[in-house]
């Protein structure tokens, strides 16, 4: 960056030009590599499914139609899955952010009884894990299997997020709270009225982390949920892909009957459109996510 500022004063040398050209070509190529799949996905969803099926769509959409979207909307359970996805993402994000902030707030209170012990107890959980199966057994014993709450409750307190928030809270001047104490405000009042409003940037960062994770998670459903009522969009897509995958396996194993049935419906365009439906919300929040994520990474990095 300095080099840029400095080189502006001088004319570019041939070496500089060469450097810029080589780097420019490379970065543009890589950016295209990152962008093209999304573009390709989009043009396929609005093109003629027949052409998509045979791979005729590459650069421009052809035979414009919204047929694929209409087809996808017919998938059983889609509306319900979309609702579950939205609900778990919103509810899970809000509750987890607040609970992590709540715990962080009390850990900033130096006079907490046994503070050091409890803090270590909580932080230690970042470095070990009982493992997938014991956690499964635990959640089963708690009756969370197959319920919507499996998406929300186990993740209520995120320890890493709690540390991020606590670090940020510690930089608040103590006088702010002291004056509220003199006005007779209890801990809860101070937390909700003073600390939370002042910690908006870090809370927004954490919330966006959580939002993206909630939206993208399909494994929780795979592991814990068998009731289609509680399927998420991601899981619906995963299941759909699995059907296609199994038909591909069937080709290899010689089980052609199954393949034939799958082939009759225009799988490719439906698959891609379903994928697009799952991606669109991410695209909508992406500008915000990107902005806050960068901040979040920096905070995490400073903390180490």
């Amino acid at each position: 960056m300095t080099a840029v500022a400095a080189s502006r004063k001088k004319p570019m040398t041939p070496q500089d030009i060469l450097f810029n050209v080589i780097c420019g070509v490379f970065f543009t190529l890589f950016a295209l590599l990152c962008f093209y799949p999304f573009y390709y996905l989009f043009i396929c969803t609005i093109s003629d499914p027949q052409l998509v099926e045979v791979g005729q769509i590459t650069v421009v959409p052809r035979g414009l139609t919204l047929e694929s979207y209409a087809e996808v909307l017919k998938i059983d359970n889609l509306a319900n899955a979309a609702m579950i996805s939205v609900l778990r993402s919103v509810l899970g994000t809000v509750t987890s952010t607040l609970c992590s902030a709540y715990l962080a707030y009390f850990f900033t209170k130096r006079n907490m009884w046994g503070r050091k012990f409890w803090y270590r107890l909580v932080v230690a959980t970042m470095y070990f894990s009982a493992g997938m199966i014991p956690e499964y057994l635990n959640n089963r014993a708690l009756g969370l299997i197959n319920t919507f709450w499996i998406y929300i409750i186990p993740g209520l307190v995120g320890v890493y997020n709690m540390i991020l928030i606590k670090t940020s809270m510690e930089s608040l001047p103590a006088e702010l709270e002291e004056s509220a104490v003199l006005d007779g405000a209890g801990y809860m009042t101070r937390f909700f009225r003073i600390v939370v409003p002042l910690q908006k940037p870090i809370l927004a960062t954490v919330a966006l982390f959580l939002l993206v994770n909630h939206w993208n998670d399909f494994f929780t459903t795979q592991l814990y949920v068998t009731n289609p009522k509680n399927y998420t969009l991601q899981f619906l897509l995963y299941e759909y892909l699995n059907q296609v995958k199994n038909s591909a396996n069937a080709v290899v194993t010689g089980n052609e009957g199954l393949t034939a049935t799958i082939q009759t419906v225009r799988t490719t365009s439906i698959r891609l459109t379903l994928t697009a439906v799952v991606i669109i919300p991410i695209m909508l929040v992406y500008p915000f996510v990107q902005k806050f994520y960068v901040k979040g990474v920096m905070i995490g990095a400073v903390k180490g």
């Binding site: 960056m1 300095t2 950016a31 709540y102 715990l103 009390f106 009982a130 307190v157 396996n249 698959r271």
Partner: protein, 316 residues
């Protein structure tokens, strides 16, 4: 009752703390601490399943107590041992291959920040971080369109004569590790570079100015100033990733795995999942999980120790 307590609290800010307030803070925090204990510590009780011959649907204490037999079986039974060796090979193989790519984000950041146009930098950054925010399911779906037998990229490669007709990367068992690692790079390269961008912005400007007065060219400035300034960040991240070595995550391998490439894609986490949930061998899979946790803790301690030795402070 309530006003009286608050009065106490207010006074306490200036005087030695009243004991009650200490307990009050603790009691208010307790529900949140309890959640952590409930979902992070209590599951450890599930480790006891590895000492029994657990059958799903039965009460644990109705099952046969077998002691450490499950653990010894993992090593002594030829089939189990072969599986264990295979998944460990996959886990290590994919990771080691991944480590070869770890300098990439740093180089990406260095060269991009040398580019003239700030807007171009921002644009490239925005576009290349995008793949980081989509799930592996979506990536699988996208890649299916590119690399399956009739995919766009496959057709292109056939035309260029790189591969033969009928090539299907999605089901091929050749180069599975490389394919997986390259996908990881595609997903995370732009994102991982962000931290280096920030570090580069923090390098004192006068170092570059001094170097330029001394006649250092661009490559010399990168080699003697930028890279040495970024190396500590690089090592911290590397060490942290070693601590996470065995937590490969199942998402990617679960979605990309199929009957044909299973041999090379089944990593430790996926094995635990397949064993426990897939074939219902709860006791064995818990045993594998325990060994994983223990090895992870050891690796983590080693990473921390290495960090202490190298940098004089622990990462965690």
């Amino acid at each position: 009752m309530q006003p009286k307590q608050q009065a106490v609290t207010a006074r306490d800010l200036r005087r030695p703390k009243h004991k009650w307030d200490d307990y009050k803070v603790f009691l208010l925090a307790l529900p949140a601490i309890a959640i952590v204990i409930l979902f992070r510590y209590i599951p450890l009780w599930g480790w006891s399943f590895s000492l029994f011959q657990y059958k799903p649907g039965k009460d644990l204490f109705d099952c046969n107590f077998v002691g450490l037999q499950n653990f010894t079986f993992l090593f002594n039974n030829p089939v189990m041992r072969k599986n264990l060796v295979r998944v460990l090979t996959n886990t290590f193989g994919i990771h080691m291959l991944g480590y070869l790519f770890t300098p990439l984000p740093m180089l990406f950041a260095i060269f991009l920040s040398e580019m003239k146009s700030k807007r171009y930098q921002k644009l490239v950054q925005s576009v290349t971080t995008l793949p980081n925010f989509i799930s592996w399911v979506i990536i699988y779906s996208l890649m299916n369109s590119f690399f399956s037998a009739s995919g766009v990229a496959t057709k292109l490669m056939i035309q260029l004569g790189i591969v033969d007709q009928g090539f299907n990367l999605m089901t091929s068992d050749d180069h599975v590790w490389l394919y997986m690692v390259l996908l990881q790079q595609w997903k995370s390269l732009g994102w991982s570079a962000i931290i280096y961008f920030a570090s580069i912005a923090g390098i004192p400007q006068d170092m570059y100015e001094a170097a330029m007065i001394d006649g250092a060219n661009r490559m010399q400035r990168i080699w003697y100033i930028t890279i040495p300034s970024l190396i500590p960040t690089y090592f911290v991240l590397l060490i942290m990733s070693i601590g996470n070595f065995l937590n490969t995550g199942v998402d990617q391998y679960l979605t990309f795995g199929n009957a044909l490439n299973k041999q090379f894609i089944e990593v430790l986490d996926l094995y635990v999942y397949n064993l426990g949930i897939g074939s219902g061998q709860i006791s064995f899979s818990v045993a594998v999980g325990i060994m994983k946790s223990v090895v992870a803790l050891v690796l983590f301690s080693m990473a921390n120790f290495a960090s202490k030795k190298i940098r004089g402070e622990s990462v965690f």
